[in-house]
């Protein structure tokens, strides 16, 4: 992680501009420690725990992708399960041809990115609600086409080849590590995307699409890029999920519940912040583990919480944290420091969602 190099002084004189308000060395060190500790988990905890954590990795990867789509690019996709399913099936196809599912995962993810291009072409003209349902129809269409191939198990699916020879303990550990890698890579990708020029463009689109367009942001191109990246991320998550479940089943792989889960995690955690999906995934996993013995209850509770938060706390739980503590784990904005006044003032901070009016 290169967070420590962020405190670059940009301007001369007494005014300093930094990327964050606090010294990021500690946060970076903390993140590194967290990742290392997480990487050691298979040696410490039971395989049941790592299994649950792999589910968490899947949700977190999906949520950070959906956050890019809905939180920044203004694309409320209800069809991301198309990529979850495609990722799973791409791994299955490669595994049938003798490639290890673990090696197939990155290829499958890239394949989903390629598949995202024609799908984007189909729905790119639509906005908001129309875009939402059209992506949903697309996902249903993709599933119906995949089910046509009896070599891929038709409507019932297939177990994943190439995993049966591996020792179960090693298999869960491998799955866990590749899950951790997928998640860390997704979060870093999102963070890097939002830091640079693209991040400014995305933040501008998020805050006011018309204004962004008139200031020369190529909104269509930016949206396409986000759709492709989200396709890759969701594909990787779907591939990971199929490996951890040891098989693919079309109805489950293409279920709209995937989008429900990622959307709820993002809405609860905080739409349009990088930290939000992480917090939302934690809330999601806790609720799911607590309520899993009551069947569908966890989705009911999550849905109701998400509705309440969407209405009354639009920046989610992370927004509430941020309002009081001004913490930014993944700084993407700039802070202006004025030595003569005692107060510190944030001049340009794209990480913050404007509470003012948005395009109706």
């Amino acid at each position: 992680m290169t967070v420590a190099t962020e405190n670059t002084t940009r301007s001369a004189g007494k005014i300093r501009v930094t990327r964050s308000r606090r010294n990021m060395t500690w946060t970076a060190g903390g993140a590194l420690v967290v990742v290392v500790v997480l990487a050691l988990f298979p040696y410490i905890v039971y395989s049941g725990t790592t299994g649950i954590m792999v589910q968490g990795f899947v949700i977190l990867t999906l949520a950070s992708m959906w956050n890019l789509l809905a939180g920044y690019a203004g694309l409320v996709s209800v069809g991301q399960q198309a990529f979850v399913g495609l990722g799973a099936y791409f791994v299955l196809i490669l595994a049938i041809h003798g490639i290890s599912p673990f090696a197939a995962l990155p290829v499958a993810a890239i394949g989903c990115g390629v598949a995202a291009l024609p799908l984007w072409w189909l729905v790119s003209r639509l906005r908001t609600g129309y875009f939402a349902i059209a992506t949903w129809v697309l996902a249903a269409t993709v599933m119906l086409i995949i089910e046509r191939f009896s070599s891929l198990g038709g409507g019932t699916g297939l177990p994943m080849p190439g995993l049966s020879g591996i020792d179960p303990t090693l298999l869960t550990a491998y799955t866990y590590w590749i899950g951790l890698a997928v998640t860390v890579l997704s979060l870093v990708t999102v963070w890097l995307m939002l830091r640079g020029r693209l991040g400014l463009a995305l933040t501008a689109v998020r805050d006011d699409e018309v204004a962004a367009r008139s200031s020369g942001v190529r909104v269509g191109l930016v949206r396409m890029l986000v759709f492709v990246v989200a396709g890759i991320g969701c594909g990787a998550a779907g591939a990971l999920n199929s490996i951890s479940l040891l098989g693919v089943q079309p109805d489950a792989a293409f279920s709209v519940q995937w989008t429900a889960k990622m959307a709820f995690a993002v809405i609860i955690g905080g739409l349009g912040t990088i930290e939000g999906p992480i917090l939302g995934t934690l809330v999601y996993m806790v609720l799911q583990q607590e309520l899993q013995s009551y069947n569908a209850w966890y989705l009911i509770v999550l849905g109701l919480v998400a509705i309440v938060i969407a209405l009354f706390a639009r920046r989610g739980l992370w927004g509430l944290v941020d309002d009081h503590l001004h913490i930014r784990l993944f700084p993407v904005g700039y802070w202006l420091w004025e030595p003569e006044s005692s107060g510190r003032r944030g001049l340009r901070d794209p990480g913050r969602r404007g509470t003012g009016r948005r395009g109706a």
Binding site: G129, A134, W136, A140, L144, A263, I300, I307, A310, L311
Partner: protein, 291 residues
């Protein structure tokens, strides 16, 4: 002859899809709300009808007399509370709230009823029968009735919107909310009325589907919402008759697909939808490009 039969069955099924679509279309046209819970609300209507039939033993055909007012009231209340609150925030919030509602309804039905499929038994009235045209074409009275109901609903809506006082207010609010408000129209109340009408048609759609086929808690999204949306897009926005045309095109595409291979039924409908999206995104009837 089998192809002619497929086309005729498709046209008749199209009436059912138009019935699915008109509530969605109305709510979008008036309030600019894309209600992602649309299909699940239709399924709720079907379950209410099931309850009403079980308790009162009235024929399934007449259950609409009780279910439609219940759903219309639900529509008014939901519009004045949840949907209005979401609308005042942003378009994004409306989508998130209705999507959340859709998932909650579906999970709730699974939790409190069950995942079994149900149907609204029509009993042994004449409606379950069919008549034949020529030697190979069988037309079910039920499907014909649903088609006629769909046309009547569309005609009624058209008349209501163009000739009645409330219809005039609805059109005024849809055109220019501020101007309508300045002329003394309470737009929230008008939105409520429009939602009540939309939910009434949604209830009819749910009952019709329940008599035509079996429904489960997931029918609302994987069938009703997606078919309704496909019909709206194919037909073109803003025209009630476009909705009927869209439903008919979708129905015919599905029946022709099923004629080739029974498992192509749904896929064929979606492929026609995607083709329209690419070739004629404004729909078959509408001249104005949708934004």
């Amino acid at each position: 002859m089998a192809w002619v039969d497929a086309i005729i069955q498709g046209i008749l099924t199209g009436g059912l899809y138009a019935l699915f679509a008109c509530g969605l279309s109305l709510m979008f046209g008036v309030m600019k709300v894309v209600n992602l819970a649309h299909g699940d609300l239709a399924v709720i209507g079907a379950y209410i009808a099931l309850g009403v039939i079980t308790v009162t033993h009235i024929p399934a055909l007449w259950s609409f007399l009780i279910v439609v007012p219940i759903m219309a009231m639900l529509g008014y209340v939901m519009q004045r509370t949840l949907i209005q609150a979401a609308l005042e925030r942003s378009e994004l919030t409306t989508l998130l709230v209705t999507f959340g509602l859709s998932v909650v309804i579906e999970a709730g039905l699974l939790q409190f009823i069950n995942a079994d499929s149900h149907a609204l038994g029509v009993g042994s009235s004449i409606i379950t029968g069919s008549f034949s045209v020529g030697s190979q074409i069988q037309i079910a009275y039920l499907l014909l009735l649903i088609f006629v109901v769909a046309v009547l609903v569309l005609l009624g809506l058209q008349y209501f919107l163009s000739a009645s006082r409330y219809g005039r207010m609805i059109r005024a609010v849809a055109d220019d909310r501020e101007a309508a408000q300045l002329s003394g129209v309470d737009y929230r109340h008008v939105f409520g009325i429009a939602a009540a009408i939309a939910f009434g048609t949604v209830a009819l759609a749910g009952i019709a589907y329940g008599m035509y086929s079996q429904f489960t808690p997931t029918t609302g999204t994987d069938t009703i919402l997606l078919f309704a949306f496909a019909a709206v897009v194919i037909g073109g926005l803003g025209s009630l008759w476009g909705t009927l045309l869209g439903g008919v095109v979708l129905g015919v595409a599905q029946q022709i697909g099923a004629q080739i291979n029974i498992s192509y039924e749904v896929l064929a409908g979606y492929l026609v939808f995607l083709a329209v999206l690419v070739i004629r995104p404004q729909g078959l009837t509408s001249r104005k490009a949708q934004s």
